[in-house]
């Protein structure tokens, strides 16, 4: 069961993502900000971190950069209410960008795609 760490300062957004991903069979944890998310990294060891961009304290991009250093195998996806609607762009460092409001189908497809790439790579290694 893939582990996904969701980071969003809006608790209702976090809950919605939590429910959506849990239904799809993922092991999900939600953190309200970057610091909490970083504290969870060792313990939870997520396969994927899905983070909002604009949060108090640390932005999603800053958080994902640290995640990349501390947990290189984890896939990272950035979620933002600022970017171009409907666009899924590379947000530097190979991090896909999903815009808010997301649509469940496409969001899940992106997450599954990222996790499938991880499995393939780790499958090759082992």
């Amino acid at each position: 069961m893939s582990r996904i760490l969701v980071v969003d300062d809006d608790p209702l957004v976090g809950k919605a993502l939590f429910r959506l991903l849990r239904r799809e069979g993922f092991d999900v944890r939600v953190a309200p900000d970057g610091a909490t998310a970083l504290a969870l990294l060792d313990d939870f060891a997520p396969d994927l971190v899905l983070s909002d961009q604009r949060m108090p304290g640390m932005t999603g991009a800053e958080l994902l950069a640290q995640v990349g250093r501390r947990l290189p195998r984890a896939r990272r996806v950035l979620l933002s209410g600022d970017a171009v609607p409907g666009a899924v762009a590379e947000y530097g460092g190979g991090v896909p960008l999903v815009t808010k409001p997301w649509e469940d189908g496409p969001l899940l497809a992106i997450l599954r795609g990222a996790l499938a790439a991880l499995e393939r790579r780790e499958g090759d290694v082992s």
Binding site: A16, L17, L20
Partner: protein, 451 residues
């Protein structure tokens, strides 16, 4: 400036002239008193008094206004010359004729035009010459000449000075008025820009704040719908929720999202580096997208594309700009059996000019004034967000270009866009788009373009 006699104090100076001539006429009568036996004396003097009064009065004014000041003044000098000859001859070129000539030169010199000097010289020289031939005393004539000439030039000079001062005052006033007008229009433009900027900021902030709640509302509702659909036996009322109410709700959510998306495009940051591009190509791309809008009966699109140099800018923004103009043009000619949209491009010395012209419904002055304001729309609710032309305005401004609009109700509209070959400096958006306002360029009216 005034070409006739100075209007200020006109009536007063005319009264003085009439009085002065009257006094001298009396003087002449005294001088010739007792010489009535000379043939024609009385008749000539009477004729002289009458005609001189006419020339100094409104009679000559009528002639001047009909044939021009120059002709009128020439007639005045001609008559003055005749009159001085009559008076001089009858009074033996004494003090009366001297005073007469002096007064006449003053009247001629009052007119502050260069030709007045010539008329003064003709009157002065002519009178002097005839006086000499008619037996006037040379010494007397010399004195008279010096006196009258200096009086003439003093008067004439003063008139010229006054005229110049008047001219300067008037041109100063005109300059002031022009500057005032310019200032007003600059102020109006600044106000408009500021208003647009403030609205752009507002739009970006509102869009961002709406996105968070809309994202979980949409996600939750669609989850509910999926769950309900997956249940095998639903009661009739829950079935209605699953089949009708929730899909309708989701449609409403999608509509809100689409409006917010438009808002965000309006206030979006575009990170693209400026690149050289062919404006005609971008125009063609926009035409292809707008084609679906142009599919009304009998609409025609006329292309008049010139050879253009490549210009520097953000081609996607430019293409968006034209798409918005084309969509508006297409909507303006909708239902018009001879509706035509004409697109033309021209190379200019330092840039390119594009015009999009339609012969559709046109706009009144009130609409023209608010044209580029975000959310200002004349389209029915749900058809336009009022952001199309706001985006156009922003793209043109970002590229350092100009946009002009010509429109009249019932006669159609023409948008004329000028873009420089190289934009002065395209604004580079900051990381946080809220708080700055940036206009963007991707397909704005997706809903309209697709529907």
């Amino acid at each position: 400036m005034t070409q006739g006699r100075p209007a200020a104090g006109e009536r007063g100076s005319r009264a003085i002239i009439h009085a002065a001539f009257g006094v001298i006429d009396l003087l002449i009568l005294v001088e010739v008193w007792g010489l009535w036996q000379r043939p024609g004396t009385a008749a000539l003097l009477a004729l002289n008094f009458a005609l001189t009064a006419w020339v100094n009065g409104p009679g000559l004014d009528r002639l001047s206004s009909r044939l021009g000041v120059e002709v009128g003044e020439a007639a005045r000098v001609a008559w003055y010359l005749c009159s001085i000859l009559v008076v001089g001859h009858l009074t033996g070129w004494g003090v009366a004729s001297e005073a007469y000539l002096l007064l006449e030169l003053v009247v001629v010199g009052m007119l502050p035009t260069p030709s007045a000097s010539w008329r003064g010289v003709v009157l002065w020289g002519g009178a002097g010459l005839v006086a000499l031939l008619d037996g006037g005393s040379p010494l007397g004539l010399l004195l008279m000449g010096a006196g009258t000439a200096s009086a003439f030039f003093v008067v004439h000079r003063q008139s010229r000075i006054i005229l110049r001062m008047l001219d300067e005052a008037m041109s100063g006033r005109a300059e002031l008025e022009r500057a005032h007008h310019e200032l007003k229009s600059v102020h109006a433009t600044a106000m408009r820009q500021e208003k647009l900027a403030a609205l752009g900021m507002l739009a970006a902030g509102v869009a961002h704040e709406i996105n968070n709640p809309m994202s979980f509302v949409g996600s939750n509702v669609s989850a509910l719908q999926r769950d309900l659909k997956a249940m095998p036996d639903l009661s009739a009322s829950l079935r209605e929720w699953a089949d009708e109410i929730l899909p309708e709700t989701l449609d409403g959510i999608r509509r809100v999202n689409a409006i917010v998306a438009d808002l965000r495009r309006f206030a979006r940051n575009d990170r693209a580096e400026p690149e050289p591009f062919d404006l005609n190509e971008e125009l063609e791309a926009a035409i292809r997208i707008a084609q679906s809008q142009m599919k009304c009966a009998n609409c025609t699109l006329v292309r008049d594309l010139g050879n253009l140099p490549r210009i520097l800018g953000r081609p996607r923004q430019i293409s968006q700009l034209f798409l918005n103009l084309l969509v508006n043009a297409a909507q303006a000619i909708r239902g018009n059996p001879s509706g035509t949209v004409t697109v033309s491009t021209r190379a200019e010395v330092d840039g390119v000019r594009v015009s999009v012209r339609d012969n559709g419904i046109g706009m009144d002055a009130a609409t023209r004034a608010r044209l580029f304001e975000p959310f200002f729309t004349t389209k029915p609710v749900g058809e336009g967000t009022g952001l199309g032309l706001a985006v156009v305005h922003g793209v043109v401004a970002d590229h350092g270009g100009r946009i002009e609009v010509e429109s009249a109700p019932g006669r159609g509209t023409c948008f004329d866009v000028w873009l420089p070959r190289e934009p002065p400096e395209l604004p580079v958006p900051e990381d946080r788009p809220t708080g700055t306002w940036r206009l963007d360029a991707i397909a704005l009216q997706r809903r309209t373009a697709e529907g």
